[in-house]
């Protein structure tokens, strides 16, 4: 198991817009470079991308949660 941490502080979102489906669900298998969340800061939305292919086992934050630098957002397993 490894984790994905936030590189910037801000507000966490699981989906590209309020009425869109989430980027991923727990259990999703993602490719390296795939967008898995957004962090809103300074009026801009910054994409959180998977840095390797993996299976996201746990999503630790909900839409609108505040997140700080270094905070764990996802737990992932190698596929």
């Amino acid at each position: 198991m490894s984790t994905v941490e936030a590189h910037v502080p801000g507000v966490f979102y699981r989906r590209p817009s309020p009425d869109a489906a989430p980027f991923i669900e727990a259990g999703s298998v993602v490719e390296a470079g795939q967008t898995i969340a957004l962090i809103e800061i300074m009026k801009t939305f910054n994409e959180v991308k998977a840095d390797k292919s993996c299976r996201v086992s746990k999503i630790l934050l909900d839409d609108g949660d505040e997140v700080d630098v270094g905070q764990t957002m996802f737990e992932v397993d190698e596929p």
């Binding site: 590189h7 801000g10 009026k43 801009t44």
Partner: protein
């Protein structure tokens, strides 16, 4: 003249100097480095004159490739820095060669790292300054934040740079307290708040929201009441409004009464919100390093205290300059 190749711009990296002073009357905010102390020390570490343009990053620094031998220094926020993947110290004079790549890890403390390069970033002057003003897209590098593929012009280094390895002593580096204390001078419209609201403004521990950038910091944590009055002509109906006035840089306005906004270097220069006080210039350096989710408190001071604090900062800056130049010998 040579260039600096931007491989990635980071979250929001801009060219900044001491600021575009003297243009406030035409509605032009000063812009310039938000943390003037860290900016000035970075320039001292590479042997630049005090006002040379440098880079101000936000949270995530840029990745920069050098095309000739240069002095370089990173100050400000506490973050990991590497040259060609090898860890390099911050608040220290570094030396790079053509092809070397400077990169950043995540910020541990503070919010804004500064990167000074020997010779300075040689973008054209606009109204006397090389600072970027993002809202209107003027100054700096084409009026915008850096992006991958940009090539930044560099100036010719003048004079001697401190030798590589020269470090700024720990006590002369920026600090990142859990709660940032911001001294402020009450005014111009503090009379619009009830006494209880003014007292609670300094008692409350405010939290920095995600809406915190070079224009201003929006805070959350308390609620402030205004003195009831019949609004004068031109002030609008909201009790948080006054007839228009100029906003000093650092002024605190309270739209709606519950979310104070501290206006900073890129803010609009006037409007009709009641401004209940002004954060003193020295503490705006500290505010620049307060980050989203961080906490701040306000402490009222008088103008004499603000001026004394500015004098102390100058002494501290002289000490830092002396410390890095002394080790040169």
């Amino acid at each position: 003249m040579n260039e600096l190749i931007v491989r990635s711009g980071g979250l929001s990296t801009t060219v900044q100097d001491t600021g575009r002073d003297g243009q406030y009357a035409i509605g032009m905010p000063p812009s310039g480095a938000m943390d003037q102390y860290s900016f000035a020390v970075a320039n001292a570490l590479v042997g630049n004159p005090p006002g040379a343009a440098a880079l101000e990053a936000t949270y995530l620094g840029p990745e920069l490739e050098f095309t000739d031998p240069r002095s370089v220094a990173v100050t400000g926020a506490d973050c990991d820095v590497a040259i060609n993947g090898e860890p390099a110290p911050t608040w220290a004079a570094l030396r790079v060669s053509a092809g070397d790549v400077l990169s950043f890890g995540q910020v541990r403390g503070g919010a804004r790292p500064y990167v000074a390069v020997g010779g300075g970033i040689d973008v054209p002057l606009y109204l006397g300054s090389r600072s970027t003003y993002l809202l209107t897209g003027i100054g700096g590098f084409h009026g915008r934040a850096l992006a991958g593929g940009d090539r930044l012009p560099l100036g010719e280094p003048v004079g001697e740079a401190p030798v590589a390895g020269t470090e700024v002593p720990g006590e002369l580096r920026a600090e990142f307290p859990d709660v940032t204390e911001l001294r402020f001078v009450a005014g111009l419209c503090a009379y619009r708040l009830t006494e209880r609201a003014l007292a609670s403004f300094v008692e409350v521990e405010w939290k920095v929201t995600k809406d915190a950038d070079r224009v201003g910091y929006r805070l959350r944590g308390g609620s402030l009441e205004f003195v009831e009055r019949e609004q004068p002509f031109g002030a609008g109906r909201d009790q948080a409004n006054v007839v228009d006035l100029g906003y000093p840089v650092g002024s605190v306005q309270v739209p709606g009464g519950d979310e104070p906004i501290v206006l900073l270097n890129d803010a609009v220069t006037g409007g009709g919100y009641a401004t209940i006080g002004t954060v003193i210039s020295v503490d705006r350096d500290r505010m620049a390093q307060a980050r989203t989710g961080g906490r701040v408190r306000f402490a009222p001071v008088d103008v004499e205290t603000a001026v004394a604090a500015r004098r102390e900062r100058r002494v501290r800056l002289d000490k830092a300059r002396a410390a890095v130049s002394a080790e040169q010998r």
